[in-house]
């Protein structure tokens, strides 16, 4: 079974062969390209070895998200890339979404305003912090979906900017 993973710009391919024990995971490119012997150690725990060194990995799955910690190395989250997700990201470049769950404490723009890229349009407060939510592109404010005092979730779209011609 071959699995492709994108880390930043690079795509890693890992081929897993579980027909024998210990099974192997083969990395097709990168500094450590080659075969890893993998020993399962318990729920979500593996020991990986490239023949010279060994690492402890801990992994969990949550829907389409994968959580990975490699002891002494680092951690990452991966999400299955779907067409829908990509499309959603590309289709609305002018959306302003809340960076965290909290309360909208200030709305600094109104529909129809012409705004610059990076201009602060809303202020969200949560847990001792005020976060400015700024326009992702220059353009005209098409809609504002929040009022001062409204609660908001992380990722919730608070306003939309219609990017101007020169900005796109």
């Amino acid at each position: 079974v071959k699995i492709a993973l994108r880390l930043g710009a690079a795509v890693h391919e890992v081929e897993i062969d579980d027909s024998s024990s210990p099974f192997t995971a083969k990395l097709t490119s990168g500094a450590l390209a080659g075969e890893f012997r993998v020993v399962p150690l318990g729920p979500g725990r593996f020991r990986m070895s490239d023949g010279r060194r060994t690492w402890l990995a801990c992994v969990d799955r949550d829907g389409s998200v994968r959580h990975v910690t490699v002891e002494g190395v680092g951690e990452a989250r991966f999400e299955r890339e779907t067409k829908g997700r990509r499309a959603a990201r590309d289709a609305h470049p002018g959306d302003l979404s809340s960076p965290m769950p909290g309360t909208v404490v200030k709305v600094l723009a109104k529909v129809g305003d012409v705004v610059a890229r990076g201009q602060n349009l809303l202020v969200v407060e949560a847990m001792k912090m005020e976060i400015q939510v700024s326009a992702p592109a220059a353009g005209r404010v098409r809609a504002i979906h929040a009022a001062e005092g409204d609660a908001c979730d992380a990722g919730q779209v608070l306003a939309e900017v219609e990017p101007s011609e020169e900005a796109t």
Partner: protein, 514 residues
């Protein structure tokens, strides 16, 4: 004090409940509806639901807390930190209800809660305070003149605030009005008063604080200092004792100042005097935190004194339980706070269900956690998950143990600052004790932004592939049955490409090898 209601949640509620259990004192936990199965509820003898998730309707609701105490027959209330811990009206209401408040007297809380009056107390015992202006800030021109006279940058602080909430740093005249407006807004919303004052911003200061205990009868002892300079957004994430920045003489002056302030107010219970330490070794009083603090374990490890038990003893009128000469600091301790927050994106708080929480203790490690695997980090409260505290005979060994414990820790679910903490525990400047309160934002974050070596990516990719290939939910130790099971994802389906979500991060380039 035979039955104590703990008016808090999370790790501090668990900490207080542990002390009560050790004493054999009966305990009552309170919880909001989303916290019904929370760890602190499981650690108490009984638990009372006090309302819905928003804190104002539960953990901040004085009536419901007192009602819970009445219904369970509790005779004392421990407030923990945060929530109502430094709310003088709450302390007053507890005492008026005939219950013991495990903390300072209400009038002490009120006095010290007004940062301007706390500064007066310090001045009265000849302790230097940070230069500032306490005039009427609605006179914007007057505020601007004062700031000009003090010299930029200045800090705008909430008079009734503390802990950096609503604090704004202003570097020039043009920003002042907006900063005042922002600080006033936060102050009004959070502290019920829009009053603010100005303080000169000390450049690259260190934050050092002194733990005190008072019996309320005039006796005050100190338990040495904690160094808390590693902060983000004016909130501490690493604390240690002793401070690597203090010599014996400076330490002596600092603890003396703290005891003098405590005595000046006849302090009762546990409290902390916070100071700023300048590069030349001079220090200024900042504020008193009239409560047990998040970082109290550091002091417990170096002094061997149980601060929560001391609070309970003082609340019973038994006194502090030991004298100043009995307090000896041995070795070093350092604490790291694990938060659900995204260090790569402005330390924004995160929330969600924890898939896995594995915080190995081990030799010389103390873990104070408020949650476990399967628990949630609710959006409504502080997103702290746990504190990992390491102890050693010297600073270097304490930090090495902390690094080891953080490396072995796994928290999967919401994004956490664990990888950032691991990075801190490996940096030469941190290990050498060379940092100040702005180091994280001005030095450490920009340097960390340089991404990991190829090896790190490779290992994370291989591990992620394992996550996708094996049925972790079932027995987790072998390949999934053909067709997939457990989580409902077919392990044998044609796998699509994955993209990293929060990026990938690394704690340093040690290269691994376990």
């Amino acid at each position: 004090v035979k039955k104590v209601l703990v008016a808090n949640r999370g790790e501090i509620a668990c900490r207080v409940l542990a002390a009560l259990r050790e004493e054999g004192t009966a305990s009552v936990a309170v919880h909001s509806d989303v916290d019904a199965g929370a760890l602190h509820v499981r650690r108490a003898d009984e638990a009372v639901e006090i309302g819905p998730a928003p804190a104002t309707e539960s953990y901040l609701n004085v009536e419901r807390l007192l009602d819970a105490a009445r219904r369970t027959g509790a005779d004392a209330v421990h407030p923990g930190y945060g929530f109502l811990a430094e709310n003088a009206d709450f302390a007053r209401a507890v005492e008026d209800a005939g219950l013991v408040f495990v903390g300072p007297r209400p009038e002490t809380i009120r006095l010290l809660g007004d940062k301007r009056r706390a500064r007066d107390v310090a001045r009265s015992v000849k302790v230097p305070v940070v230069p500032g202006w306490e005039g009427d800030a609605s006179d914007r021109a007057g505020a601007a003149r004062a700031a000009e006279a003090m010299g930029w940058p200045v800090l705008v602080k909430a008079a009734l605030g503390g802990g950096g909430k609503g604090m704004q740093r202003v570097t020039r005249r043009e920003e002042l009005d907006r900063a005042l407006e922002g600080a006033e807004r936060v102050a009004r919303a959070s502290f019920g008063s829009a009053e603010v004052y100005l303080e000169k911003a000390i450049v690259e200061p260190r934050h050092v604080e002194v733990q005190i205990l008072g019996d309320g009868e005039g006796t005050v002892v100190h338990l040495f200092e904690r160094e808390c300079s590693l902060q983000r957004r004016h909130q501490k994430i690493i604390e240690e004792s002793p401070s690597p920045a203090l010599g014996a003489k400076a330490r002596e002056a600092l603890v003396k100042a703290a005891v003098a302030i405590g005595k000046a107010v006849g302090y009762r219970s546990a409290g902390t005097c916070e100071f700023l330490l300048d590069r030349d070794g001079s220090f200024w009083f900042l504020e008193v935190n009239a409560r047990i603090q998040v970082e109290h374990p550091v002091t417990e490890l170096v002094t061997g004194k149980d601060l929560v038990r001391a609070q309970l003893g003082i609340a019973r009128g038994e006194g502090i339980g030991f004298a100043q000469e009995d307090v000896e600091a041995k070795g070093a301790a350092v604490e790291a706070r694990i938060y659900a927050e995204d260090a790569d994106h402005g330390f924004l708080p995160q929330a969600g269900r924890l898939l896995r929480v594995e915080l190995p203790g081990g030799p010389w490690i103390r873990v104070d956690a408020g949650v476990g695997s399967g628990d949630a980090v609710p959006v409504h409260y502080d997103p702290m998950i746990a504190k990992v505290i390491a102890h050693g005979s010297d600073r270097a060994s304490a930090w090495r143990r902390l690094a080891r414990a953080l490396d072995a820790a796994v928290v999967h679910g919401p994004v956490t600052n664990l990888d950032f903490l691991r990075h801190l525990a490996r940096r030469d400047d941190v290990l050498a004790g060379r940092f100040h309160t702005e180091s994280i934002e001005t030095v450490i974050l920009p340097e960390r932004a340089k991404r990991a070596a190829g090896e790190t990516r490779d290992l994370l990719a291989v591990a992620a592939a394992l996550a996708d290939r094996f049925d972790l939910a079932a027995d987790g130790t072998g390949p999934a049955a053909a067709g997939g099971a457990g989580s409902g994802t077919s392990a044998r389906r044609a796998p699509g490409p994955f993209e990293s979500l929060a990026g990938w991060r690394h704690p340093g380039l040690r290269g691994g090898g376990v």
